[in-house]
Structures are given as C-alpha cells and as structure tokens.
Symmetry: C2
Subunit: 285 residues, 2 copies
Amino acid sequence: MCNGMKIIRDIAEMQKLCLSLKRKGRTIGFVPTMGSLHKGHISLIQRARRHNDFVVVSIFVNPIQFSPGEDFKKYPRDLVLDSAICRKERVDVIFYPESRKLYPQAFRTYVEVKGPSDVLCGKFRPGHFRGVATVVSKLFNIVQPDRSYFGQKDIQQLIIIKRMVEDLNMPIDIIAMPTVRDSDGLALSSRNIYLSPSQRQDALAVPNSLKIAQSLIKDGLRDARKIKNIISKLIRQRMTIKIDYIEIVDHLSLEPVRKVGNGSVLALAVRVGRTRLIDNLVVRL
Amino acid sequence: MCNGMKIIRDIAEMQKLCLSLKRKGRTIGFVPTMGSLHKGHISLIQRARRHNDFVVVSIFVNPIQFSPGEDFKKYPRDLVLDSAICRKERVDVIFYPESRKLYPQAFRTYVEVKGPSDVLCGKFRPGHFRGVATVVSKLFNIVQPDRSYFGQKDIQQLIIIKRMVEDLNMPIDIIAMPTVRDSDGLALSSRNIYLSPSQRQDALAVPNSLKIAQSLIKDGLRDARKIKNIISKLIRQRMTIKIDYIEIVDHLSLEPVRKVGNGSVLALAVRVGRTRLIDNLVVRL
C-alpha cells in the first residue's frame, strides 16, 4: 500500500480487509509475533515482503500460552519501536488485537496437536503449545494468509504449526527461516534482555555446545546418548545454568531417536537464573 | 455451474476449486453431512441453494466422532440415492473424501470446545463432539464456505459449531434450520431406519412429550425440574425406551437452568432398543 503502514486493533476490520484482498486475488504474507521485534523477526518480515503482495505482522502477547508463574506480565512490550521496525520493512499492517476481544468470557475452543505438544518444552510448559496452536489458528482465520513465516529457533512450535496446518487442511504455506544469532553466537530471543552480562556469558555454553555437537556428528558420531552426554557435561560446567532437557528427536514426530540421522533435531532448553532459553540444531548429513 | 453436478473425492482438488471461486468473489454455501440424506438435509441444501452462488454438500461418515461399539460400520450409506437427491436440488459439488486421506497416519490435531462438549450427549458419547468440531474445521478449511447450514435437531452440535466458529474467528455464517419431522411427529434422522414398526410407535413418545412440555410452558409452567419429571414419566410408559438424559439448559453455555426462559433448550436422548434418538425443543416465550 502506498499510503503507509496501518495499525489495526479491531478483529472484524482486520478480517474484512484481508478477505477483500483475497477476493481481489492478492497474496497475503503473515508474520505472527509477540512483539519486541529483533533481527530474527526481521528476517521473517523481509522474506514475507519479497514473496507477497500484502504483509501483515501481528503483535500479541498471548496469555493462554503462558503457564502460571511464567513471564507473561514482564514479557517485553514496545509498540513504538516495533512500529518503527515494521514501517522500515514496509509492512502493510500491524495487527495489534486486544486480549479481551480475542478471548471473551464465553471463549471455550482449543486446538491441540496431541503428541508433539507433550514432549520437550511441552513437559515443562503444560498447555503452552495448545495456547500457541489455538492463537495461531485464530490469527490465521483473521488474517487469511497465503504464507506464514516462523523461525527455526522455536523448532517445536514450528513443527507443531506445520502438523496443525496439514492436519486441519489449512490452505497456508508455512515457511521456516533459519535461527538468527548475535555475533557471540547466542540465538536471538526477546527474552535475552533478561540476562545479566555474566549470565549472558554463561548462556553462550548453549550455542557453543551445539557447535561442538555439529562437528562431532560431521566426524561420524551417531549415538544420540553419547552426543547428549557430551553436551550435558559442557553446559553443566557453567554453574548458573540449569538444564530442562537435551534431546535428539525425529523432526516430524518429535519422538527420541537413538541414532542421529538426516533431519534429526538436537533440541535443548536451559534456565539461566530465571530466564528460560531454547536452542536447537537440525542435523544435515 | 451449467455443466451438471460433480463428485469430488480429492481434497486438494476440492480446496483448489473453492479457493479459485473465492478469488473470483463467488459465495459458497456448504452443507456437511454423513449422507443418507433425508428431508432435513434437503431443507439445508435448498436454503444454501437460494443464498449462495455455489453449493457444496459433503458426504463423509466421520470415524472419529463414533465411540467404540457405536454404529460407525452399519451407519447407512447410499451414494447413488444421495447423488440423485443432490442433483435434483442443483448442488454444484458433492465432496466425498476418503477417510485415510482426511486422517493419515501422522494425524494428531484436534479441535475441542471445552464445556459444551462434555454435557448432554457428550457424557454418553465421549470424544464425539471433539470429533465433530475437528472434522467440521477440516471441511471448512477445504470448502472455504461463506455460509454453512446445520439442523436444529442436532442442537448440541449446532451450539458447539457456533461457539467454535466464533472462538476461532472463522469467517463463516452458521445458519440453523428447524427440525424436519415425519407426519407422525418423529424428527427425521438417518438412524430412524434402524427402528422396527413397534419401536417406531414407542419412539413417538419423544416428540409427543415435547409437545406436551411446550403447551405446559405456554400455560405458564417454568419449573425445569417439574417439566423434566413430567416428560420422564410420559416416556417411561413405553417399556422399550431407555432415557439417556432429559435436560433443560441455557442455549449458549448448555448449563442446566432451574427456571425455563426464552431460548432455554429442552434436550433429550433416548435409546429405543439399540437405536439412539435425540430431539429437543427451543423455548420461545
């Protein structure tokens, strides 16, 4: 659109606009986010911009994907900065809905991908992926995208969304984009701002151990248990880090594998102080 | 379409056709069925035909909405007769998908309306409404209807689908059509063919008791417990009928009410021999 970026709060207005674009045969690229945009998000937006007529970025910190005691309230929010970023990237619309409109009192419907939602992060964040699948379903129905973009950093989320789209026959292409890292190797995350400088230093054990795993696999190591033990030892050297899990799983079912193969996913989650960080490596042989 | 009705089995073909119609701004009316079409279905189809450019009827006996031991295998199927009916009613496409294509091995995603799915029939058919909500979500994503038509006979299904569409922001109007009855008063159902002549005679206690309830309410009776007791006694006079439930509930939450008001739903389910029948009365004051 030549008349600049719009911020739309109203669900019906957003949906009406997108339906009318579809009826005119325009393609819609969609990047769902919780805001606090970083270079990872920007890579998704730029890809959406290149391949679609119209680009929508949603900014919504989704309450139903946070467990009690998690960081829903303190999750970073900065619409001014996010808007500037989106405007620079020539986003057409920021969809910025209100929680009480997306989840009115009578709300009762949930979308759940059974199996992949219950392992890895799902064990530590019960209900999280049900919250993700539900809000993404809602946003897809409102924004009516042809293509939607997700970062490989949140690989379990990516796999669950792909499964959901296929299972529910949603006519949407899910495009995965590589994890973007800071110069020190830490995967970009809106939660990185919670880290003190020394915690951040310790957190680098995560990407560093993944790099070591990658080179061990390249050198021929295939035993999943051995690889996990090596990574576990490397990370445990940093006293401030607690490991939630280190797993090597199949990239479709998310079930554990014994022998690493092409497409296997080495996924891990750790806590550095009160900050939960995740990272992963998709094995390419 | 001027070149006659099509039967489409392929999911991708069906979806592609509907998406291309939408891009041309044509409206799609959709009647999801399990086949074995009767006058109840025909009233839905005729309404769809009047109000939409393009009419799709799906015929699919959905395995995931049947519990073990229910009548999935013996559920009546007659595509030849159903096709003739649809052709006569100027349906554009019958969508007739294969179960193994809708539910491949890797299928894991379910849509669930918590609360309304767990009461009334949901108590007696665990998982039934999850199966319904899931398949209807899938069919909606494939057929992309502007409007979809449901009979008031299956009132819990209707209420759950309405709730789902609103909760998940699906851009679809759900149109409810009145229950169609045979000349003896029995609500039309594909399952009525299971009844022997004497069972059918006994089954008439259901519509007859609803009629009596209606006139009692018209005369000023509002006490839900009293009304339920009266109906219960009337039905129990027929020895072959077993009552699953008789409830008077709110038309949105499906929670029981003590005092009958406008929009209250008197819903019941009985078994006549091995045949399960449902019926209901929506109170209009």
